[in-house]
Structure formats: structure tokens, C-alpha cells
């Protein structure tokens, strides 16, 4: 039984603004608010799943039926992504309970809630301008969160992020304006229908602008310059949230754009090539990194490259694989970030070389990190295996053997740098005076959830795949989506 899906956006927004006053009443209470609210979101998305799988749930806001009014279109895709976002959000929120001890933590929680709300909005909305608005909400809270630690590096990273992010906003806004000017509508389904009659030159302009804009959010090369800095300088949970939430929303937007709204075939090849380049360059950069979180950031970009390859294939199975990869990445990368956060915290240094012997000193953390590393390398029986397998299988089926080979080459590089870190954790003698320390229970719970999901999905991938299949179908066959949205108004 699900409540009104609008609550999934409204409640976090409302709660976010409620936090500062609440903080005046009780400092301790504040940190449980995100857990509660995002927990509700999680519940909502899970409850919605059976419904949206059958038929997209259209929520009409302000009594105007689509295409006239603003609406939430909770198709399988949106729902699955919302589930991913709330899951990651929930886990990160649980983790936050003890991690963010720093003042002013109410702002932190507020921004985090905003970020989640924005991302959820992005994936649920059926209106392209709304999408933009939610994107802005997400982005702005991200900028703020990047600089949350209020040190020099954080500020610099936030500034870079802000710079690139505003370029993205500009381009997206321009693109939307172009579309609106030619089609006269902002509803995505409606646009998809009307775009056929639009002068293709204008359409392609709009597409280019939008692709560039969303490509920045989706960490497509060469638009991802902001990512390494932002990931590594932001507080660790936020790094996890970037990987698990922001990027996922960006990719969602990109997918929606190229699959549903526009129907240009050439763009898929572009995405494919961009994907493989992104992957290779990211992996090649990652291997040279000296900072743990920065390395994870590059790895995250690399994984997104794999998702882009999958999306570029434009086949049902490929998209399924891509979505599965997104799901897995959303589980594994936060796991890595969260464990890395405490590793960095305890070792007192961001550098990989200072992680020596952590396996002795902090066995559980190191275990989770190693577990995540193994999962992201695609070692069975962990979930990363299946998504990688499907994507590569699909890539090769379509004759892109070279792409698959390059991707595998990237994977080998990935194995090298992850194992180097794992090696340092376990194979180097710990520094003098280090003693066994255990991390807070909340963090452990957060990481255990992620690890468990990774293991269970790996052993029984069909569990997730059942829900990804309709989502992929929605992307591939856009008529389902369009029909559902447009018929809702009748």
C-alpha cells in the first residue's frame, strides 16, 4: 500500500526546511530526520514497484492533466532509479548518524535531504523543465556539500563543480528553451511526439545542448572534470551520494533524453564511443592516483563509462545490463566510499600509502573495502559480475569486440589499482602504535546493508533483474511511456 508519490518529493523538501528550526529544539534529533524521511521514500518506492511495473503510475499535480499540467510519471525506470536513490540515501543517512559530528550538522542534514529530494524528483518527474529544476536543487545542494568541510581544497573543488555545473545548467536551459520554442510543450512524452515535426536542425541543436548538459552530470568524458575533485574533497558520505545518487540521476536524464525524447540513431554510437573513452581514461587516471578517494572517484567515472557503453548499445538486453550496472555501482561505490571514509579518518591521511596495515588495525573496515573492491572488479559471486557480464556480452553480440576488449583492458587496470590498495591494507605492517579499533555501529549497519545486497544480488541476480526488465523495455520502446503519459489525461 503506497501513499501519494508526491510525498516522496514534498516530504524531504519540507523536512529539509524544517531541520534548522528543529535543530534549535534538539541537536540530537536532527540526524535521525534524514533516516526517517528517506526511509519513508524507500518504503514508498518499494511499495510502488508492483504497480509501476504493470503500468506507469501517473500522478497529476494541480489538477491539470498531462500534457498541460505538471505530472509525476513513475514508470518502471523512474521507480527503479528512485529505489536506488532512496536506498543509497537511506544507507548514507544511517552512516551519517555518527560520521557527521562536525558543526553545523543541521545544515548538512538539510542539504543532504535536499539532494535526495532533488534526485528523486529528477527521476520521477515527467516534465522536462521540472527535471531541470530538480537538477538545480540537486546541484546546488551538492556544491554546498562539497565545500562543507570548509577547507581550502573543498572550496576549490566546490568552485570547480559550480563552474562546470552552471555551464551544464545553462546548456540545459538553452536546450529546453529551444525545445519549448519549437514544440510548445514541456511534457516529455508530448515533446517526443511533437519533435517529429520539428526541423531536425533545431532538434539536433537542442539535443547537443542537452547532451552536453546532462553529460556533465553523468560524468561523460571530457565533461567530467569536476568529478574527481568533488568526490574526493566532499565529506565521504557525500562522495558516496555523488556516486550513488547524483550521477544516477544524471544518467537517468541522459537516458530519458536519448531514448524517449529524441530518436536519433547516431547519438547512440556517440554515447558508446564516449563511454569507452570515459572508461579507459578514467581507469588510466585512477591507477596513477595517490589519494584513496580520488582513486575511487576515477573508478566511479570508469564505471559510468561502462553504463554509457551499455546505453549506447540501444538494445533491451544492453540497457538491462546498463541499469543493472547502475544498480550495482550504486551499491558498491558507496560501500567503498563509506569504508574509505573511515580508513581515511583513522589513518589521518588521504594518501593510499598511509593505509598500510589497516587490515590488522581495522579488520571490518578493511574487509568491507576489499569486499567492495572484489565486487566492483566483477568477481563472482558478487553482483558486479553479472552486470559486467551482460554488458560485455551484449557489446560483443553487436560486433563491438574492440570496445569489449578495451573495456576488459580497463578492468585489468582496475584490478591492479584496487588490489594495490587492498594489498596495502593487508600486506603491509601497520604503523607503530596502531591498535585495533572498531567503527561505530551505524556505519557498520550501513556498510553491511550494502554488502549484503551485493552478495544476495550476486547469488540471485534475477531478484533485481525482474524489475529492471520492464525499466529497460520502457526505454527501448518509448511508445509505452508516451501512451501511458498521454492517456492519463484522457
Amino acid at each position: 500500500m503506497y501513499l501519494d508519490p508526491v510525498l516522496m518529493i514534498a516530504l524531504p523538501l519540507f523536512a529539509a526546511f524544517l531541520i534548522p528550526p528543529l535543530a534549535r529544539i534538539s541537536k540530537g534529533l536532527v540526524k535521525y530526520v534524514p533516516v526517517l524521511i528517506i526511509g519513508f521514500n524507500l518504503y514508498e518506492t518499494v511499495m510502488l514497484l508492483p504497480h509501476s511495473m504493470v503500468k506507469p503510475v501517473i500522478v497529476i499535480i494541480a489538477a491539470w492533466a498531462p500534457p498541460l499540467g505538471i505530472n509525476l510519471t513513475i514508470g518502471p525506470l523512474g521507480n527503479v532509479l528512485a529505489l536506488i536513490i532512496s536506498l543509497v540515501g537511506f544507507v548514507v543517512a544511517v552512516y551519517n548518524i555518527r560520521f557527521v559530528e562536525e558543526e553545523p550538522n543541521e545544515k548538512y542534514h538539510m542539504l543532504f535531504l535536499l539532494l535526495t529530494a532533488g534526485a528523486t524528483g529528477m527521476v520521477l518527474t515527467g516534465d522536462i523543465f521540472n527535471l531541470f529544476v530538480f537538477l538545480e536543487i540537486t546541484s546546488i545542494s551538492s556544491y554546498a556539500l562539497t565545500a562543507f568541510l570548509r577547507d581550502r581544497d573543498g572550496a576549490e573543488a566546490a568552485f570547480k563543480y559550480l563552474l562546470i555545473g552552471s555551464m551544464a545548467s545553462t546548456f540545459i536551459l538553452l536546450g529546453i528553451a529551444l525545445i519549448y520554442a519549437t514544440t510548445g510543450t514541456l511534457n516529455m512524452a508530448q515533446i517526443a511526439v511533437r519533435l517529429k515535426d520539428v526541423d531536425p536542425r533545431i532538434a539536433i541543436m537542442a539535443l547537443i545542448l542537452l547532451i552536453t548538459g546532462f553529460g556533465i552530470e553523468a560524468e561523460m568524458f571530457p565533461l567530467n572534470g569536476w568529478a574527481p575533485d568533488a568526490y574526493s574533497q566532499a565529506p565521504t558520505p557525500i562522495g558516496a551520494a555523488f556516486g550513488g545518487i547524483v550521477v544516477k540521476a544524471g544518467v537517468y536524464a541522459l537516458a530519458r533524453l536519448i531514448y524517449t525524447i529524441f530518436s536519433f540513431q547516431g547519438i547512440f554510437h556517440f554515447i558508446l564511443i564516449a563511454g569507452i573513452i570515459t572508461l579507459l581514461i578514467a581507469e588510466m587516471s585512477a591507477i596513477r592516483q595517490k589519494q584513496l578517494k580520488r582513486m575511487l572517484a576515477f573508478s566511479s567515472i570508469g564505471q559510468m563509462g561502462l553504463v554509457l557503453i551499455a546505453l549506447g548499445l540501444a538494445t533491451t538486453r544492453g540497457v538491462e545490463g546498463g541499469l543493472f550496472q547502475m544498480f550495482n555501482h550504486a551499491m558498491i561505490k558507496p560501500l567503498l566510499f563509506l569504508s574509505a571514509g573511515y580508513l581515511v579518518f583513522y589513518s589521518g591521511s588521504k594518501n593510499i600509502e598511509d593505509m598500510d596495515g589497516m587490515g590488522r588495525v581495522k579488520p571490518l573496515l578493511s574487509f568491507f573495502f576489499a569486499f567492495g573492491a572484489f565486487a566492483i572488479l566483477g568477481l563472482p559471486p558478487l553482483s558486479g559480475f553479472w552486470s559486467k557480464f551482460i554488458i560485455l556480452s551484449e557489446t560483443i553480440s553487436h560486433g563491438f569486440i574492440a570496445v569489449a576488449t578495451l573495456a576488459l583492458f580497463g578492468s585489468i587496470i582496475e584490478a591492479v589499482y584496487y588490489l594495490r590498495v587492498v594489498g596495502r591494507l593487508y600486506f603491509k605492517a601497520p604503523h607503530d602504535g596502531a591498535k585495533v579499533q572498531y567503527v561505530p555501529k551505524s556505519a557498520l549497519v550501513a556498510m553491511s546493508i550494502l554488502a549484503l545486497i551485493t552478495l544476495v544480488t550476486g547469488l540471485y541476480p534475477d531478484l533485481v533483474m525482474t524489475y529492471l526488465k520492464p525499466a529497460a523495455a520502457e526505454l527501448i520502446d518509448k511508445s509505452i511511456y508516451i501512451k501511458a503519459v498521454l492517456s492519463a489525461g484522457l
Partner: protein
Amino acid sequence: METIPFILSILFGAAVLAYLVGKFNYILKVGVSIVGLIWAGWLFLGLQGTLSSFTFKMLGFDIIWRINPLSWLFGMIIFGLAILTAIFSGSYMKGKERVDFYCFAMCITVASMFGIVVSGDLLSFFFFWEIMTWSSFLMVIYYRYEAQAAGLRYFVMSMIGAYAMLTALLIVYAQLGSFLFDVLSAGWSGFSLTLQIWLFVLFVIGFAVKAAMMPLHTWAPDAYTISPAPFTALFSGALSKMGIYGLALLFFVFGAGKLASSVITIQGVSLPGYILAWFGAITALLATFKAIVQDDAKKLLAYSSIGQLGYIILGFSLSSSMGVTAGLYQAVNHSIFKGMLFLAVGAVFYRTGTRKLSEMGGLITRMPYTFFVVLLGIITVAGMPPLSGFTGKWLIYEALIEKHLIFLAVVAFGASTAAFLYLYRIIFTIFLGQRPKRFDEVKEVPWMMRAPMLILALLTVYLGFYPYQLLDLINQAQVYMGIAPFDLSHSMLFNSYGNVSTITVMNIVAVVFFIVFILFNTLYKRSRKVGLKDIHTSGEVPGEEINLHYAVDFYQPFARGVSIFLKRSVSKIYASLADNLEGLFDVMRYVYTGNGQTYALFVVIALAFLFLVKDFLV
């Protein structure tokens, strides 16, 4: 419940259980794993001759697990060796740290190997293959601090192999739409020649890494050396056989053997097979050279293992009835003797704490059982007649000569002769010669360690008498693989070229030995037993501090003679390649400069680029 998934769940369950209860009690965790392995092995033993299979769907892929004579044969290798090594490690690992981790990884490795042999489709084959890779990686890095480089190299090499295999199997899937072996064997001949060759190469790379074929062997010496001794036995005895099993699948189940007849044949051997045979032979020879100059007992055996696997590959790639029999026989035999040698070296390490050949000596009186095992082991490795090794060697040479592959035969013979050198070295420097004073109080290992070694040792004697019992099983596997079974009557090996009766050989040797022994010992008074140091040293009485054990640089003249082969090393090439690549990756610093303006510029460039190519986007 179906037997195969049941066995798998026993093994995985034993792994997890051993890890969990391992926190509490030593006997419990070792006991759990041993009991689990024996239970699973017992169930598996009962599957002989049955064609049990288990099918289900996962992610829309058909998965099938089944038993056939070939997989049963390899499965028995795995379980036999795994149970013995588990018992061995029960005593060996006592008092070591992280035994729970050890038992866990051990059971997982066995489970994954079992999974590989029962897989009836490429997907689960690859799935278990990868599990095997990481679980054995966990074992390689057991001694954590020293093991990093070896572990990393092992893992990366394995990944390269696995990904080559992945590419191949995905290509197969793209072509046939199914991962099933049956579909593949039916569909292989439909592929174009180029595709067949590509698939062949990719699969061979995948399997050759595990089988440590040169030049993909560089992980093996270090990984074998550094892993805990009981596991090394399993590693070399069973895990490397998975590469061989893969090759068997590739040639005879997937149907790459058919590629054979369509292309050029050399002396009745297909070109790819012929090339592979050369790789095998060269591996056998060069690895043997390398083994001769090692000073680390396990490294020596590791190179020896690489060399022996070269023989097996050689046998398989001939694709003839005899060659395959030879390969399979040698595979089983290699598991037995390499298992016993690694265990024995482990036992020596357990008592002396060193693996350096030049530091040991004269342990024969201290560890007679271990000596006996090593003695039988080296006789078997050398392929000398009374024991089981001879049959394998005989089969390989007959197979080569039958095909008139004389150059290969000479290389193989040469490698086999060179093997005497390192075999003698290992038994001499450890057990014979002078004993350093600090090992005077060394004791024989406990029975829990002795028993597995002795069982394997007696097995070689038994097979020396009755090789046909093993050959029977091999013949069943060959029938499954679609190869004419090797013709054998009881205890007689024969082909068109010659024949050997192993029982006669054994009997002659035994009878002559005992006659001479009795004559020699009854006609004479007992001889005087003298001490180790009581040797003629030009009348000098050697003091305790004088080293009379000739063990350092034992084959220095040999090393000088073959220095041309020894000074080049593939691993150095790989290392420099990796270094250069990493240096190249540094170029990426020019991409991610950390400068906001640059990134903004990238965005603009990307936009401009998109505008330029906009016609292609439509």
C-alpha cells in the same frame, strides 16, 4: 535434492561454517572442512558412470551442471587431493594465524573447482573459474607481508587469462545465442575459419594461464612458492589441472579439434595443435632448465610443475587417441606426484623452517618417511619404470613417435632427462649429504601429515603395477570426448609400435632386487655404520663449523652451459611493459589538471565537437 547442487552447497556451507566456527576452536574448523570435503567427495564418488545433470535458468541464461566421465575423472583428482591436503593441513596449520580464513578459502577453492568440472555451460564455467581465481588468490596471499607481489601478479595474470576466455565465450554466445557446451559443439563447425582461430587462441590463452604454459607462466613460481604448503599441493595438483581440463574441453567437447582437420596438418596433427604442442614442449624444456638452478625447494617444484604441465599440453594437443590418453594419464599422475612432493617439502619446511635447499641436508635419518615419499616422488617424476610415472612418459613418447613428430620427441626427451638434474638436487640437498648441526634434533612430522603423503606414495606404486585401472577410467572419458579409446589389455600397454607390460617390469625389478639384496646381506658380515662426518677428507678430521654439504650452486656448470636460456626472462619483459604502461598513463595528468578553467574549456570543446559532428548524430 539433486546431488550436484547438494555437493556444491556442502562445500560452500563447509567454507562458511569453518570460517564462523573457526573463531572458537581449532579442531572444529579443521574438522568441519575435512568432514565437508570427505562428505562431498564420497557423494561425488558415487556419481561415477551416472549422467546426473541439473538445469535451471539464471538471468535468462540456461545453466546446466552435469557429470560425465571426463568431469568425473578431474573431479576425483580434485577431491582426492583436496581431502588429503586438508588432512595434512590439519596438522600443518596448527598454531598458525587465521586458520579459519585458510579453511574458508580452501573449501571455496575446492567448491569452485568442482563447479568448473560439473559445468555444462560456459557461463557457469566462467563463473566458477573466477571464483577459483579469487579464492586461490586469497590462499596465495595467506602469508600477507611477503606475498603481495606474487599475489598481485597471479591475480592480474589470471584476470588476463579469464578475460581472454570471457571474450571468447561471449563471441560464442553472440554467434550461437547459448552458452551450453552441447550447442557449442554442434555449432563450432559452422563458424568461419578466422573466427575459429580467434576463438581457439582466446580460449587457449585463458586456459594456458592457469596451466602455466610459457610464456604465460610468470605468476606460477612465486605464487606456488609463497602459498601455504598444503595448498600448494592442491594448487599445483588440482588447480592447474583446471587449465588442462579446459584444454580438453576446448579440443574435444567444444570441437576445436575439428578445426584441426580443416586447416593445414603437420604429420597428421592440425596446425593449431601442432603449435600448441611446441608451446608445451618448449615449456617443458625451459621450465626444467629454470627448475635446475633454483635454490628454493618450492620454487624448484613450481618450475617442475610448469614443465610437467607442458608435457600434458603436449599430449593433448596431438589430439590422437594415444596423445590424449597420455595427457590425461599424466594429468592424474602429476596430481599424485606433485601433491606428494609439495606436501613433503611442506613437511620439511614445517620441521626445519626453511625452504632453502642450500641450508638443509642429511635429513634422511631424521625424517625417513618424508624421505621415502620424496624418493618415490622423484622416481615417478623422472618416469622411471617401476612406478607410475613411466606409463605416462611411455605413452607420450609413443604418441609422438607414432605421429613421426621427431623434433618434438627430442625436446620432450631432453626435458625429461634434464628433470633428473633437479630431482636429484631436491632429494640430495634436503635429505642426503651432511646435516647442519641445528637440524640434529629435527623430528619426523606427525602422522596426520605423514599419512596423506604415504597414501599418495603408495598410489604411485599401485599405479606402477596396474596402470590399466586408471587407463580404464581415462578410456571412458575418451569415449565421452569422442576419441577412440586407447587399446589396452590388462597391464599391457601396446600400440603398433611396441608394448610394455608394467607388471613384468615391476616383477623383474622386484625379484632382481630381492635376490641381490638377500645375497648381498647374507654372504657378508654386517657393515659398520659410521657417522656423517666420517668421510675421507685427506685425513683431516672436519670440525663442526666446516660445511661439507655441497648444495650451493649445485649445478653451476650446467647454469653456465645453458646461461643463454636462463638470462632471458619473460617476467622481466612483463614487468618493464607494465612499468612503461603505467608511465604512459601518467599522461592523464595533462587531462585532469585540477584546473577549473581547463575543465570548462573541455566542456566548450566537447560542445564544439558535437556541433561539428552533428550530422553523424542523426
